[in-house]
């Protein structure tokens, strides 16, 4: 019972800062929108490459904006945790008799609520700018699922690094690693359009699978990556496995904090 | 005091600086004579630094005039700059540069000829004891080393007037002594020094004359010894239990004026001096007041300050003591 209540109060704290400190939440909303707009605008013509999965560039780059926003939003939890550790607030949390798991699940829940809000906003603006879901409600759900999944991954990774380094060095590693994982994937163009070294790397990068899941409801119905079990399962497995691994990493380093 | 001479190195007349409604400096008059160390004393926010910033051309006055080294600080700012040395609060120095490089830069800024630069820099490094550290980046210097380098920088052009803005704030006692010695030496060599400080002891030790500034006004000015004498009677400090505090106050008031003291302590300016202590003790005893602690203090600059402003200088007690 206390675990549930701890999770609740910690999640509330995380969400409350949106209202208390809207300026801090603003970049988290602006960045995904900005990324979606500039990628779709700059690489507008990329859909004309033969066999490109969609003929609307915003269909391709809206999920990218959301996924990058979700990933960075996730590691952002690590960032605020570093601040809590530095101010000593985190020691107060650790001294409380609540379960260690709730120290992770609570703030994570708060983060996921923010990601839900961000995703919804970007989808609305994306549709206003011409994005069209080809896969209906199921496609929209896949996009939400992948956003929450990658945010969970990011959060676990960010928390783990925060506990491990306890200072801003951790934040630098978070930013850089997420940046690399996101870009060394099918972020900009699909696998069969890219050539050379990137193709080799992106093929084994789990982010590619998760991005495919995010886009299943937005590519052309004739495309192999359109909503089907074949296109979806890889992303789901990646989300579940990577989330479990990263949360395990966070929990292990939280426990090590008292060593 | 030498108020007649307009050629004194620092003359301020009716100097004011208002920031909106805030009167940081409100019509002060000040003369610093040739060859003096002048101590400018006041708590944070009293207007000390504002005066220094005006006199060193960093800030314009909103009223009045000031002449430094014979030049008007507004109309002849450039000449003023050429004739003064300034060591600012916090010793603002670029941590990425070495001590020698900073001296070199300073030499160029003051237009010192290239062929004299090296010699001058080395002389100054020697003088402040930084020769060994000359080529190290300033980020590796200790607080004391930074202040010494700052002093060396301000001396690069052999200024006639030197401004030191809280030169020892935050220094350990040893570094503080070293810096004081150096200031005295410079003064013996003929440099006029204006020194701001929050430390009463520093002013007492170094300054020929001091001025106390409070809320933008100069409230006392003169030689430390004269000022102390002017406060007159020594202060008797007495601690009693809280319940008897008011009762004790009544008894003490008969022996002189009450003086501001730290919370929980009573202070009275004892008329007639030390020989009356016994009387006070008897009077308290008769009133059945239990004295926990008793101390007789000869007037200090702190008393001068308290007498002038009605409160004790914040941090005066916590200032590192040097003996």
């Amino acid at each position: 019972m206390t675990t549930t209540r701890s999770v609740g109060i910690l999640a509330t704290r995380s969400v409350r800062t949106i209202r208390r400190l809207p300026s801090a939440f603003f970049p988290a909303l602006a960045m995904p929108i900005f990324n979606m707009v500039v990628f779709a605008g700059t690489f507008f013509a990329v859909t004309k490459i033969p066999n490109f999965p969609t003929d609307r560039s915003i269909n391709w780059y809206m999920p990218l904006g959301i996924m990058m926003g979700a990933a960075f939003g996730g590691v952002g939890l690590g960032f605020t945790t570093i601040r809590d550790i530095e101010t000593g607030f985190y020691d107060r949390l650790r001294m409380s008799p609540t379960s260690r798991l709730s120290l992770i699940i609570g703030p994570l829940t708060g983060t996921l609520i923010r990601i839900l809000m961000m995703t919804t906003l970007v989808i609305v603006i994306g549709i206003a700018l011409g994005a069209r879901f080809t896969g209906g409600v199921l496609g929209v759900l896949c996009l939400y699922a992948s956003a929450l999944g990658i945010a969970t991954m990011g959060a676990g990774w960010g928390l783990g690094l925060a506990f491990k380094f306890k200072d801003m060095r951790g934040a630098a590693i978070m930013q850089l690693s997420i940046f690399l994982v996101m870009f060394l994937s099918s972020a900009q163009v699909p696998l069969d359009v890219m050539t050379g070294w990137l193709h080799t790397v992106a093929r084994v990068n789990p982010a590619t699978n998760i991005l495919r899941l995010a886009r299943v409801g937005l590519v052309n119905e004739s495309n192999a990556d359109y909503l089907s079990w074949n296109a979806v399962w890889g992303g789901l497995v990646a989300v579940v496995v990577m989330s479990a691994l990263s949360l395990g990493f966070a929990l292990r380093n939280l426990q090590k904090l008292s060593d | 005091m030498n108020n007649t001479s307009n050629t004194a190195p620092i003359v301020a007349e009716n100097l004011s600086r208002h920031f909106g409604d805030v009167k940081a400096v409100d019509g002060i008059n000040l003369t610093v004579n040739q060859g003096e160390i002048f101590g400018f004393l006041g708590p944070n926010g009293a207007g000390k630094s504002t005066v220094v910033r005006i006199l060193t051309t960093l800030l314009g006055p909103t009223g009045g005039t000031a002449r430094v080294a014979g030049f008007d600080v507004v109309k002849q700012a450039d000449q003023v700059r050429r004739n003064i040395g300034v060591a600012l609060q916090e010793a603002a120095i670029d941590p990425l540069m070495s001590g020698y490089e900073l001296l070199e830069l300073q030499a160029v800024l003051y237009g010192i000829a290239a062929n004299k630069m090296k010699q001058r820099a080395n002389e100054l490094l020697e003088r402040v004891g930084l020769t060994a550290a000359a080529d190290r980046r300033v980020s590796t210097y200790s607080g004391g080393m930074r202040r010494r380098l700052d002093l060396a920088l301000s001396l690069i052009h052999q200024p006639a007037v030197l401004f030191l803005d809280e030169p020892t704030t935050g220094l350990d006692p040893m570094s503080r002594l070293t810096l004081w010695e150096e200031v005295r030496r410079l003064n013996r060599e003929g440099t006029t020094v204006m020194l701001t400080t929050q430390y009463l002891e520093e002013a007492d030790q170094l300054a020929d004359r001091i001025a106390i500034i409070d809320h933008g006004h100069i409230v006392r000015e003169g030689k430390p010894s004269d000022l102390k004498r002017s406060v007159g009677d020594p202060t008797l400090l007495i601690n009693v239990s809280r319940e008897q505090n008011d009762q004790a106050k009544v008894v003490l008031a008969a022996f002189g004026d009450m003086r501001p003291t730290a919370e929980g302590t009573l202070g009275v300016g004892l008329k007639g001096g030390a020989e009356r202590v016994a009387e006070v003790v008897r009077a308290l005893d008769e009133a059945k007041i239990l004295v926990e602690h008793l101390e007789l203090n000869q007037p200090s600059l702190d008393d001068v300050f308290a007498d002038a402003t009605g409160y004790r200088l914040e941090g005066a007690d916590s200032a590192p003591q040097v003996d």
């Binding site: 605008g41 690489f43 163009v189 | 600012l88 003051y110």
Partner: protein
């Protein structure tokens, strides 16, 4: 009473070369500062190269799309964009350092000395400008082994390096306006996203001819588009008056304009004292 004792006196004298010497000394300081903080400037060298490598693999099939100039590789196309991206991002350091000088009081030290007021500004910007030129050179050399050349030859290489220098100076001056206005290095760093937006809303990564709608119109208005296209033309087509003009005159124009703004802000800051 004599103002100073006979034994000593200010050994300062006025010379017309003073300002030049001060400028050189302050420039030297700001240039050394760049090289003494490699961690601060490394990202503006590494990230553009990372994006170039990423683009080379991602967009190798895009170069045959209508609207693209005839190039052998996307890398060849993106050379100018890489240079501009690096220089834009690097140019923030000089202005941020100026703000740090204000924050930490070094600016006051300079003001309390008889320093020429313009040397304080230009001396501080010199370091990041030199770095801008150097960045351009590094990018040109780094992409050389991948067959990316500048068709305009030596003059083309020199012009692009010069453009790097000028752009870093011009953007640095613009950022200095914020540094002088706020006196906060954080505020200067905070404007970084604006540069990011300006860069993306230009033809730095894809030709304007492939864009459409409002986005295209913004890129048409963005001076960065023309600057990049000038360098791109020098690299792909060879030397031409138009390309040279775009490569050099646009950054000069920007630099003149932003310098005026920065000088104005400097005098506002000095007058507010």
């Amino acid at each position: 009473m004599p103002l100073v004792t006979a034994s000593k006196g200010p050994i300062v004298r006025r010379r017309s070369t003073d300002t030049a010497r001060q400028f050189v000394a302050l420039s030297r300081r700001s240039t050394l500062a760049i090289f003494r903080q490699p961690a601060l400037v490394a990202p503006s060298l590494i990230f553009p190269l990372f994006f170039a490598a990423l683009g080379a693999s991602s967009f190798s099939r895009a170069i045959s799309l209508p609207g693209f100039p005839k190039v052998d590789s996307y890398l060849q196309f993106t050379l100018a964009g890489t240079v501009t991206q690096g220089v834009l991002f690097g140019s923030v350091t000089g202005a941020a350092a100026l703000a740090t000088d204000i924050e930490e009081g070094f600016f006051d030290r300079l003001l309390a000395a008889p320093t020429s007021r313009t040397s304080i500004l230009f001396g501080r910007l010199a370091g990041s400008s030199v770095f801008g030129g150097l960045q351009a050179l590094v990018f040109l050399l780094a992409l050389l082994p991948f067959g990316v050349t500048v068709q305009a030859g030596v003059l083309g290489y020199v012009s692009i390096v010069l453009a790097g220098f000028l752009t870093a100076f011009g953007v640095g001056a613009l950022m200095s306006v914020i540094a002088l206005k706020t006196g906060s290095a954080e505020a200067v760093q905070g404007t970084f996203p604006i540069l990011f937006i300006l860069l993306f809303l230009s033809s730095a990564f894809f030709p304007r001819e492939t864009m459409s709608g409002a986005y295209r119109r913004v890129a048409d208005f963005n001076p960065i588009s023309y600057m990049v296209e000038g360098q791109r033309s020098l690299s792909i087509d060879g030397i031409s008056l138009t390309a040279m003009t775009q490569t050099l005159v646009i950054p000069i124009g920007i630099a003149v304009l932003t310098t005026l703004l920065a000088l104005r802000q400097l005098s506002v800051r000095l007058a507010a004292r």
